[in-house]
């Protein structure tokens, strides 16, 4: 456990020292600033615009960080041969993968927390104070984090079998498909083709289903998110991440570093 923590904190430190992280945070704050501006010119729906844009900014920039740092977590270590130094220590390959994963999730947690604070500051400025109902927006932030944790799992999985660039492409594709997986299954059912139905049905179950994680619109309109969905999403994310990391470890165990 100590070794996993050391690798996780090392990965976190590396992310913190990456300039790309800061530029993304700056961009996120610019987005929030833009949301205040747009909200102020949207008479009557200021809060709705601010919440939609602010949470979307947190999600998009979190996704960029998850993909761009996640894809390099393993493949960059192999390409630069830094993995040799780690694996020559008493570290198993599973500990290496888990440590790297935990490090990036920690980075995203801190990053999302900073952006969420910025978002609430923007909300407080606009509304001249915060109400209790504003904190129900945190459910959407929690779902964004769960979604990002799955994306990091996907990125680390591809990072174990491919180069950084291909991993980025694959992860982004999976993210996009995952957001439309229900639509893809619907398309298959309406097509009338049995083969297509089977293919889209299989894709629906195999690929991550992100559609239930996007509740930005609901929380912006003040709709309460049922606790069953929170539990279901949490269990789904944990299960999916466990499967992804297990697959990543199995592949990484067989990997040779020529």
């Amino acid at each position: 456990m100590g070794r996993v923590l050391t690798i996780a904190l090392g990965a976190f430190r590396e992310s913190v020292r990456e300039r790309v992280l800061y530029s993304l945070i700056v961009f996120a704050f610019l987005m929030i600033g833009a949301a205040i501006l747009l909200g102020s010119i949207s008479v009557g729906v200021e809060r709705l615009v601010l919440v939609n844009l602010g949470l979307a900014a947190i999600s998009v920039f979190g996704l960029l960080i998850a993909i761009f740092i996640g894809i390099g977590l393993v493949s960059k270590e192999i390409e630069r041969r830094t993995v040799y130094n780690i694996l020559s220590k008493p570290v198993t390959r599973a500990e290496f993968i888990l440590g790297k994963y935990a490090g990036l999730v920690l980075t995203l947690l801190v990053n999302t927390a900073i952006m969420t604070v910025g978002f609430y500051v923007a909300l407080a400025i606009q509304k001249r104070g915060l109400g209790l109902q504003d904190f129900s927006l945190l459910t959407a932030v929690y779902f964004i984090l769960l979604e990002l944790a799955i994306v990091v799992g996907v990125a680390i999985f591809f990072s174990c079998i491919s180069t950084s660039i291909l991993s980025a492409v694959f992860t982004f594709c999976i993210f996009v498909i995952g957001n439309f997986s229900s639509d893809i299954r619907g398309f298959g059912q309406e097509s009338g083709s049995v083969a297509l139905q089977k293919v889209t049905g299989a894709l629906y179950y195999v690929l991550p289903n992100f559609s239930d994680f996007n509740v930005i619109n609901q929380v912006a309109h003040g709709v309460r998110i049922p606790s069953l969905l929170i539990t279901a999403n949490t269990c789904y994310a944990l299960l999916y991440i466990t499967i992804l990391l297990s697959a990543a470890v199995l592949i990484f165990e067989q990997r040779e570093f020529k």
Binding site: I7, R80, R81, T82, Y84, S88, K89, P90, E256
Partner: protein
């Protein structure tokens, strides 16, 4: 118990676009390294030295054969508590400083804070990086990175240290420092297993060497035995010998090379040396030098390699040492 036991290690890499062909990088390697010795694995590029070390650290897996370090199987990750490893062309997290790198490495061994602080300070001194402890690795020179690599390999006070081409890319001062460091490790009774293609380093440092070429073990033994094997010729240098004298000497010598006024003769046995000297004295030719010719490790190395590679055969002439 041997420090390192290698028993029939073979490694085939799949090559080509479809990975259908195989290339043998290592062929039934058989080696044993005893505790406390400095062992050199020698060979030209592509000989299989790095593959051997990578197999020992399970960075690649053998096609067949087994190996043990300190009596433990390679898949027992706990053996890494007792070993240190410097990879070839090491690259470390360059956002870390020298000191942070060593702390990171030490924490992977589960070392406590106080112990780690003491060790880091001592090792930075040992490798000559104490004044650069706060220097980020991305701003360090190649020699400094190499020394940082050796430092991280020593952080756990290992019993066996594996160094893959530790002198590569170093300037003469850097090479001297690394040599001194290896000698210091020998004095501390540590086993050092290092690969190199720089023969003078092996000559200076190794108790025993193994020579690899194209994955085949060409020879293995104590360095002094290898180096004393070839004291079989003698060099005689004559000044201004006449053509008639040279004609008389030609049947007695292995080689005869004229350079300006001097002629260098290489003679294989004692009887011919006596005859050569008698002819020279009789003709009043001055004998400028008379030296036994020792086989250098380089000669041994080239001769061994030529056994598997006739096209790169060792030169006919044996160089004086």
């Amino acid at each position: 118990m041997p420090a390192v036991e290698i028993d029939g290690l073979t490694k085939d890499y799949r090559v080509g676009f479809w990975k259908t062909r195989t290339k043998r990088a290592l062929n039934s390697l058989q080696l044993q390294v005893e505790p406390g010795e400095v062992f050199g694995l020698l060979g030209p590029n592509g000989a299989g030295k790095t593959t051997t070390l990578k197999i020992l650290f399970r960075l690649v897996f053998p096609t067949s054969g087994t190996a043990r370090i300190l009596g433990r199987r390679l898949d027992d990750v706990a053996v890494h508590y007792s070993v240190g490893y410097l990879p070839e062309h090491p690259y470390f997290y360059d956002h870390l400083t020298m000191e942070e790198l060593l702390h990171y490495a030490g924490r992977l061994f589960g070392l406590g804070k106080d112990d780690l602080r003491r060790r880091v300070g001592r090792i930075l001194e040992q490798v000559g990086l104490a004044e650069f402890r706060d220097l980020p690795l991305r701003r360090a020179s190649k020699g400094m990175v190499q020394r940082a690599g050796i430092a991280q390999a020593l952080i756990n006070d290992p019993a066996v240290v594996f160094l893959d081409e530790p002198m590569t890319g170093l300037d003469p001062i850097g090479r001297r420092e690394v040599r001194d460091l290896i000698l210091q490790l020998r004095e501390e009774k540590k086993t050092v297993f290092f690969s190199t293609h720089i023969l003078s380093d092996a000559e200076t440092l190794c108790d025993r060497v193994a020579i690899l070429n194209r994955g085949h073990l060409q020879g293995c033994g104590e360095l002094r035995e290898i180096l004393s094997l070839g004291v079989s010729t003698t060099e005689v240098i004559l000044e201004n010998p006449g053509d008639g004298v040279l004609e008389d000497l030609r049947p007695l010598v292995v080689s005869l090379i004229r350079t300006g006024d001097r002629v260098r003769l290489e003679i294989a046995d004692e009887e011919n040396i006596e005859k050569t000297l008698a002819i020279a004295l009789r003709a009043r030719v001055k004998v400028a030098a008379l030296n036994p010719v020792k086989v250098s490790l380089e000669d041994y190395f080239l001769a061994k390699i030529s056994e598997t590679e006739p096209e790169t055969a060792a030169p006919a002439e044996v160089h004086p040492k």
